[in-house]
Subunit: 223 residues, 2 copies
DNA sequence: CCTCCATCGGCACGCATCGTGCCGATCGAC
DNA sequence: GTCGATCGGCACGATGCGTGCCGATGGAGG
């Protein structure tokens, strides 16, 4: 504040990014309950107009703030078999969902969206479709390589896979842990896996406890 | 219930039920956005104390109001095979979720729960566990009759089935129509169905278009 | 270097809801 | 008929919303 004479008080577009950062910080510290336009303005030392000029509502602000930190944990690696890739991806997503700032901000948007179907459409289009699509891409590739049966309707499958995770995250107190992901993938592979991948499944079931140790900390390659 | 001729201004326990009714009426007319303790008090011609004496927050009120209309659409019929029973039940649930008063009240509770993990636990325990359990009961019975494979982990399956419906209802603009339910059940039966039930599945796939006409017509009621 | 004007921070307003406190009326049990 | 618990009504301070107005600021154009 006082130690930065370089802060030239106000700019045009840079203010926007700064406000998004403040929103994320606020979400990290006080959670969704503390997220209001007034709070963000206070925290940023900014007039409310400066925010309202950019976003029409707190939901729109949260939506953009979410975009700022969204992409990082989204991409599949395509390193192993389908099951392994899905598993890693789901566990990584679950970590993101249950940590700030993504967790509280995302929850906030979803809560707001329950009273506003337009916002719900935007939310779905901007985030959830993306999630489903990347999952769909991965399992479609697996279908081509013969890991999944040709008859499977993968669009519904992608929705089921993602939906189950979001359901647990939003409406349950259970964590999205390895057990949950494995149970989900068991059903998915039992439904659409071919003999090749079924082999991997039984192998997985045997070494589930072992894997649990491996993935608990950082298995993430740098990105 | 009682033979009270006119409204004698105030009673003890009867007021409680009346307030829940008013809450449901309000939800039906103005939706979740219009649900506040002040609004309920105004509508009921009641002091706010009369409400606060019974419920600590709007979320608690909505939770009880939901209980009042909850049970009706919950029970499985056990009339046909698993798939048919699940199908009918899911379609019936989806209708309840997307119609007032259940729709807006339920959405309201869920929105509030995103900022309050205690409420989320209560919500889960009081409603979602019930839903999952009744589904689990039905598919467990099917497992005993040989309609589902013995190896299936049905607890996860029940969560996947229910979770997918809730995901679509909460976070999507797509309706929970016959197409969606069929896609979900396709995956479920492909995973855990035995040859007996697979037979029913192919039969279903043939008549999917016919069924689609029957239910997809009327415009959805606003949530 | 200076002028100009969009943007800025700050303040205030009216409105709404929250949760609480107090009052006098009224119901219902005794 | 008495009396205590509950009731409706009103008011309060606090908070957030969305908007209006002000004077200051600073970057672009001259």
């Amino acid at each position: 504040m006082t130690d930065t004479p370089a802060t030239p008080r106000r700019r045009g577009a840079a203010r926007t990014e700064e406000l998004l950062r403040v929103t994320l910080d606020l979400a990290t510290e006080v959670g969704y309950a503390g997220l209001s336009i007034e709070a963000v303005a206070r925290r940023a030392g900014v007039g409310k107009h400066t925010i309202y000029r950019r976003w029409p509502s707190i939901a729109a602000l949260l939506l953009d703030a979410l975009s700022l930190v969204w992409t990082s944990d989204l991409d599949y690696h395509n390193a192993g078999d389908v099951r392994a890739d899905l598993r890693e991806q789901f566990l990584r997503s679950s970590l993101a969902l249950s940590s700030p700032p993504i967790g509280p901000v995302y929850r906030g948007v979803i809560a707001e969206a329950q009273a506003d179907s337009t916002l719900r459409a935007t939310l779905h289009e901007r985030f959830l479709v993306t999630v489903e699509q990347s999952t769909l891409d991965r399992i479609t590739r697996a279908q081509r390589t013969g890991e999944l049966t040709a008859e499977a309707n993968l669009e519904f499958a992608a929705e089921v896979l993602c939906g189950t995770l979001y359901y647990r995250w939003l409406l349950s107190t259970r964590p999205i842990d390895e057990n949950a992901v494995d149970g989900l993938l068991d059903m998915f592979m039992a439904a659409y896996g071919t003999s090749t991948s079924t082999q991997a499944q039984t192998l997985h079931a045997a070494s589930r406890e072992t894997l649990q140790v491996r993935c608990g900390n950082s298995t993430r390659p740098a990105n």
